[in-house]
């Protein structure tokens, strides 16, 4: 019994981090219909911000988090202006952007790899290797903090989307772009801001990831499939769905990892992605079957 609780707790803590990694992706898809395959590589960028902040100046990754958010959000604004604004008029837009963001992911990977080489890195504040003990069950502090911070950020995002005026505009654009535009929402601005928020979340996730996983630039390919599985299972565009999907899949993956070995735990995500796409492409909470 103790073992099962242990596995569930580890899975949930990791699931919290995955939830933050996936929610930016989901937000961007919901508002802009961009399947942003470059999201994980931008998370990698956030991880490097936190890593160098810690390595060079000894700043805690949790304090570097806002810095990473700002840097990544600024990058997002530039990318949006340069690339995505003009693409929005193209006919096969959503298919086009998949390839485009795929290429962008390679650009980011290549740039990070050139700058920082492909060696494995991990930020190591004290709590990253420490743990709480409750009876037999241990809770790694790093994963616990990361999971809690990420759920707090997602909570704040949800409140913003639900109660602020701009949040209304974002949700309106997600539900129906044309109708929102007709009612006077500046959809282009909404697109820009939610893209910046989404990529900013990638920065936040990156600084959390930096002490939870070891990372190197080409690792983002693995994350792409993991994050896609969360977002697709949750229903593209639904942030609540993404959070639930991450918690569910991470716990399942933790069980698979314990009983069958660590390699197979990642396979859980990939198989889930494949099966969900084939069986229920709209996911748990998705409403728009148009992607299918």
């Amino acid at each position: 019994m103790g073992e099962i609780i242990q596995i569930v707790i580890l899975g949930l803590a990791l699931g919290g981090v995955y939830a933050l990694m996936g929610s930016g992706l989901s937000l961007v898809f919901g508002v802009m219909r961009i399947v942003n395959l470059a999201h994980p590589s931008l998370i990698m960028g956030g991880a490097y911000v936190a890593y160098w902040g810690f390595k060079l100046y000894g700043v805690d990754p949790l304090i570097m988090l806002p810095v990473a958010v700002v840097i990544l959000a600024a990058t997002a604004v530039i990318l949006y202006k340069l690339v995505f604004e003009r693409e929005a008029r193209s006919a096969k837009y959503s298919e086009m952007t998949v390839l485009l963001t795929f290429a962008l992911a390679m650009v980011v990977e290549g740039a990070l790899g050139t700058a920082f080489t492909n060696t494995q890195r991990v930020t190591s504040p004290d709590y990253a290797t420490d743990a709480f003990f409750i009876g037999d069950v241990f809770i790694p502090k790093g994963q616990l903090y990361a999971g809690m911070v990420s759920l707090a950020i997602i909570g704040a995002l949800a409140l913003f989307l639900k109660y602020s005026r701009f949040g209304y505009a974002i949700r309106a654009t997600t539900q129906n772009r044309e109708a929102a535009e007709l009612l006077g929402v500046n959809v282009n601005l909404v697109g820009l801001v939610s893209f910046a928020i989404g990529i900013g979340l990638a920065g936040a996730a990156g600084s959390l990831v930096s002490f939870v996983f070891s990372f190197y630039p080409s690792k983002h390919w693995e994350w792409i499939a993991i994050l896609m599985s969360l977002v697709v299972l949750g229903g593209m565009g639904s942030i609540l769905g993404t959070v639930l999907a991450s918690l569910i899949l991470s716990v399942i993956a933790a069980f698979v990892g314990t009983y069958f070995g660590a390699t197979w735990s990642t396979l859980t995500f990939f198989v889930a992605l494949f099966v969900v796409l084939m069986v229920r492409p709209q996911g748990l909470f998705g409403e728009k079957p148009e992607l299918a």
């Binding site: 690339v83 998949v98 290429a103 050139t114 080489t117 792409i224 499939a225 197979w264 796409l277 084939m278």
Partner: protein, 343 residues
């Protein structure tokens, strides 16, 4: 009042189309690809005058990508289903032929068509499953497929797991050692381009192009879209698998890291986009350009990371400013040189 006989109308229409096709044929320079092929077949004679192994390797490498990119083009270009997971079939072909070669010593060059068929069977089955979805979902499912196969091959001890398997090298003198593979790839490339031409000009190819324009309309026009798509998937898997078969023996080892890295599938996609997807000549031109680019980047900058950066950059610029590719853009401007008009 004139009475219209259906048969007369049909004959008249047939004659009209034959006239159009004849006109198109007049504008086509068939001699050019044949001359290129003859040149490539004669190229190894250079070995009598010195060591041109590097040149031979480059042509071989390009030819292998011509096979793969043209194969990919049948699904991605003609039918419009973009797959980022076609290196799965590269791996299947490579492992199938490589394992038989390692166990029974039958050369992979002989096994290549068989390996292609095995890949095609896999492609057929996978296509039956994944082609139910379209657009972004299909692309993402193809990525998931690569990840799944990577883990499976990495952990399949029978084929050597992630360390792979080394294959015996042939015992020809160094000067001639590359030649069997060279000829195999050049012949395969020629065959692939020919097949791609024939497919484009068949009823099947017409159906695929209709699917890429509007799948729902083509279905209501009576095309069995599901069968067409799955068949296109299988055929494109056939070519990619065939290339994989010989590639393993040429490198003298097979390993998941050779076949199942993302760069291989990206190259296939990028070559088609760069050259012009949906055209016969596009993948060939794309393959030549990209191999030259790659050699240039590796030779001048040396690092594979820069190579990834540059590949991504070319792909982005291409997609943003040049979505029809070289052949497609030139054809739209009606400036396509006759020697490149292979469609």
């Amino acid at each position: 009042m004139t009475s219209l006989d259906t048969n007369e109308v049909i004959t008249a229409r047939k004659a009209y189309y034959a006239g159009l096709a004849g006109e198109a044929d007049k504008g086509r320079s068939v001699w050019f690809p044949i001359a290129v092929l003859a040149l490539l077949l004669a190229l190894p004679a250079l070995q009598f005058t010195g060591n041109y192994n590097y040149l031979i390797h480059l042509v071989l490498f390009t030819a292998s990508y011509v096979v793969m990119a043209s194969g990919w083009n049948i699904l991605g270009g003609f039918a419009g289903y973009i797959s980022l997971g076609h290196n799965v079939f590269f791996a299947i072909g490579g492992y199938f032929a490589g394992m038989i070669f390692a166990r029974y010593g039958i050369s992979t060059i002989i096994l290549a068509p068989l390996a292609g068929l095995v890949a095609a069977v896999f492609g057929y089955v996978i296509g039956l499953i994944t082609l139910r979805v379209r657009g972004p979902s299909f692309i993402i499912s193809s990525l998931a497929l690569v990840m799944i196969f990577k883990i499976l091959f990495d952990n399949w001890d029978f084929v050597g797991g992630s360390n792979g398997l080394s294959l015996p090298a042939n015992d020809l003198p160094v000067q001639w050692a590359k030649l069997p593979y060279y000829y195999a790839f050049v012949v395969m490339a020629a065959f692939t381009v020919w097949a791609s031409y024939r497919i484009r000009h068949s009823k099947f190819g017409l159906g695929l192009r209709a699917i890429s324009k509007d799948e729902i309309k083509s279905e209501s026009a009576g095309i069995n879209t599901r069968f067409y798509k799955v068949l296109a998937f299988a055929i494109s898997a056939f070519f990619v698998g065939m290339a994989g078969a010989v590639w393993g023996e040429y490198l003298t080892y097979i390993r998941p890291n050779i076949f199942l890295i993302i760069l291989v599938s990206v190259n296939m996609v990028l070559m088609c986009i760069l050259g012009g997807k949906g055209t016969v000549a596009g993948p060939v031109i794309g393959a030549i350009l990209l191999v030259v680019f790659n050699e240039f980047f590796v030779a001048t900058l040396g690092a594979s990371e820069i190579n990834i950066f540059a590949t991504g950059m070319i792909m982005m610029l291409c997609l943003m400013f040049f979505p029809l590719g070289i052949v497609g853009t030139l054809a739209r401007l009606k400036k396509l040189p006759r020697i490149l008009n292979w469609d």
